[in-house]
């Protein structure tokens, strides 16, 4: 699956839960939302290898 995080793209070749993906990317689940094929999903959602995943950072500063 392709995982877009800001301007970076990561490739994962195994199915996993969204919570596991966030762990692998060292991203806080409080500070990120995950869209799978353009739909917002919860952390227990099971990702498949063909999914298009976008991680949205929710924290802004300033």
């Amino acid at each position: 699956m392709k995982v877009h995080v800001d301007d970076k793209v990561y490739e994962f070749n195994k199915a996993m839960a969204v919570s596991r993906l966030l762990q692998e990317l060292s991203l806080s689940k409080e500070a990120h939302l995950v869209l799978v094929n353009n739909r917002l999903v919860t952390e227990d959602h099971r990702l498949s290898v063909n999914d298009e995943v976008k991680v949205i950072r929710v924290i802004s500063g300033g």
């Binding site: 917002l40 919860t42 227990d44 949205i56 300033g62």
Partner: protein
């Protein structure tokens, strides 16, 4: 995970409320929450004429959209700080939303007014850009309300903004700021407009989800001047604790609200513009005087066509 309301597949897990909701029920939940916050804390009344301070980010655009949707018709104000590669994009998003909610937006262009952007102004003031930005925004947003007859200025500060600012004030024991934060700051006749923060108890994650689910096109990139902002560090720290103790941020802010004291009113005003001031001139008028600027602030207006000022709902 299933939606607690309808049983369909959930889109978002709200650990602070020990619940999960689908897209439709989450949108309804957040709108009802903001409506009850407005009512419980008496932020807006039927006689008010509110305006929203809009930056082009997810919080202010969502607030503008939501207030118009839940029955509080309001225009917007945007300040163009002339930040390269940032301000123009932000303004485009703001105009797009103005068209969507069919409301007017006032635009103040710093560069057109003082022939400098925020970085140039910050150098003149010998202050960091964020400090100059805060000062000019507070001033201009107050001015638009006083000049155009708006009775309340609503800002998009969310739970994470407030919790991180409070943490920063406690860590450094900034007593002069510590007790000045509030969900609602009273106005002062023709000098200062009432300010409210309807998203005070809504997390940044909830607001980002609301923006995404409503197709709100916001500026995702950070302001180039916020790169080393301590705010982001505090937010990360608070979110680490929130993961271990869901609901902690809400408790932190609700506890603060119980302890907050009334802000002392000043009876000293700028002789040039009437804004509260410690000396004869307020901070902004001192800067304008230094720059040789005598004219009054000018706002451009962006009005979508057709404009329906009485419209109560958006689609």
């Amino acid at each position: 995970m299933k939606c607690r309301v309808c049983g369909d597949k959930a889109s978002i897990n709200l650990r602070a409320y020990n619940t999960a909701l689908c897209e439709k029920d989450f949108i309804g939940f957040l709108e009802k929450r903001v409506a009850s916050i407005i009512e419980d804390y008496k932020l807006l009344s039927v006689n008010d004429r509110p305006i929203v301070a809009i930056s082009g980010g997810k919080d202010s655009l969502s607030l503008w959209y939501m207030l118009n949707k839940i029955g509080y018709a309001c225009d917007g104000v945007y300040i163009d700080l002339d930040i390269e590669g940032y301000s123009r994009t932000s303004l485009e998003k703001v105009k797009y939303m103005a068209d969507r909610v069919k409301k007017k937006v006032y635009v103040f262009s710093l560069n057109k007014f003082i022939q400098k952007g925020i970085d140039g102004l910050a150098r003149t003031m010998r202050r960091p850009p964020c400090s100059a930005c805060g000062m000019i925004k507070r001033y201009v947003m107050n001015r638009v309300c006083i000049e155009k007859g708006y009775t309340v200025l609503a800002t998009g500060h969310n739970l994470d903004d407030e919790a991180s600012a409070l943490l920063g004030n406690i860590l450094f024991w900034k007593e002069s700021y510590l007790w000045k934060k509030s969900i609602s700051l009273p106005g002062d006749k023709d000098h200062l407009v009432k300010k409210v923060k309807p998203l005070f108890l809504c997390s940044e994650r909830e607001m980002a989800a609301y923006a995404v689910l409503n197709g709100i096109d916001y500026i995702y990139e950070e302001c180039p001047f916020s790169g080393d902002a301590k705010t982001i560090t505090y937010k990360r720290m608070l979110n680490t604790i929130e993961e271990e103790s869901p609901g902690m941020k809400i408790q932190f802010i609700k506890g603060y609200l119980k302890k907050v004291k009334d802000v002392e009113k000043t009876n000293h005003y700028c002789i040039r513009c009437g804004y509260p001031a410690s000396g004869d001139l307020c901070g902004v008028c001192r800067i304008f005087k230094k720059l040789g600027i005598e004219k009054n602030i000018i706002f451009e207006e962006y009005s979508p066509i057709p404009l329906d000022s009485e419209r109560r709902e958006v689609t």
